[in-house]
């Protein structure tokens, strides 16, 4: 299965600023995804990152708040824009491919103060 390197692993940010999270996959994958895990909660899909086209967002998530890039088949970024304390969460990227199906990055723990 693919291995995903996600960074940063954690960050503390001021409200009103933006943070970009990066995920690098060690092989080409068809699909990549971004999830949010709010404190004590399960994972919620933010969007599917499409290579060469705009991401597909789930209900409740919008491009202006969570712009996503996917310039090639091994890399994607998620930006959390104009942050507020409510954005404090763990953000995880995922890829689809290989025998295990889905692989996850180690997550980015974001605290907004």
């Amino acid at each position: 299965s693919a291995v995903i390197s996600q960074k940063p692993s954690r960050d503390i940010c001021q409200r009103g600023t933006s943070l970009t999270i990066q995920c690098q996959v060690d092989s080409q994958v068809t699909m990549m995804f971004w999830y949010r895990q709010q404190p004590g909660q399960s994972l919620t899909l933010i969007a599917t990152a499409n290579q060469g086209s705009e991401a597909t967002y789930e209900s409740g998530f919008v491009i202006d708040k969570f712009p996503i890039s996917r310039p090639n088949l091994t890399f994607s970024t998620l930006t959390v824009s104009n942050m507020s304390p409510e954005d404090s969460s763990i953000y995880l990227c995922s890829s689809l491919g290989g025998s295990d199906g889905y692989t996850f990055g180690s997550g980015t723990r974001l605290t907004v103060v």
Binding site: F33, L43, T44, L45, L92, D100, G101, F104, S106
Partner: protein, 114 residues
């Protein structure tokens, strides 16, 4: 609406005792099914998965799960729990017919008593 339900939010089990975590889904088609474990401060680790074939699936760390189509369930079991099994467990479903994406249950936190 399509959903994944883990009825137990918390389970406390004694070390050495058996463990069963429940997962039910509501989808029209048979989905691909997964169980993940998340230790505190860690990412998600795949325990096992079901795509097709034998409905009893063996996974890592001594876990197994059984897919029951008639009950729309995919319960996770371990015969003898170790203290290191204390973690959050997530059931997840991928309904191919709806496009590739995972939908997660709410999770079950397992506490292990010595």
């Amino acid at each position: 609406a399509q959903s994944v339900t883990q009825p137990d939010i918390h389970i406390t089990v004694s070390e050495g005792a058996s463990l069963e975590l429940r997962c039910n889904y509501s989808y029209g088609a048979t989905p691909y099914l997964f169980w993940y474990v998340q230790s505190p401060g860690q990412g998600l680790q795949l325990l096992l998965k079901y795509f097709s074939g034998d409905t009893l699936v063996q996974g890592i760390k001594g876990f197994e799960a059984e897919f029951k189509r008639s009950q729309s369930s995919f319960n996770l079991r371990k015969p003898s729990v170790h203290w290191s099994d204390a973690a959050e467990y997530f059931c997840a479903v991928d309904v191919k017919a709806a496009g590739n994406k995972l939908t997660f249950g709410g999770g079950t936190r397992v506490l292990v008593k010595p």
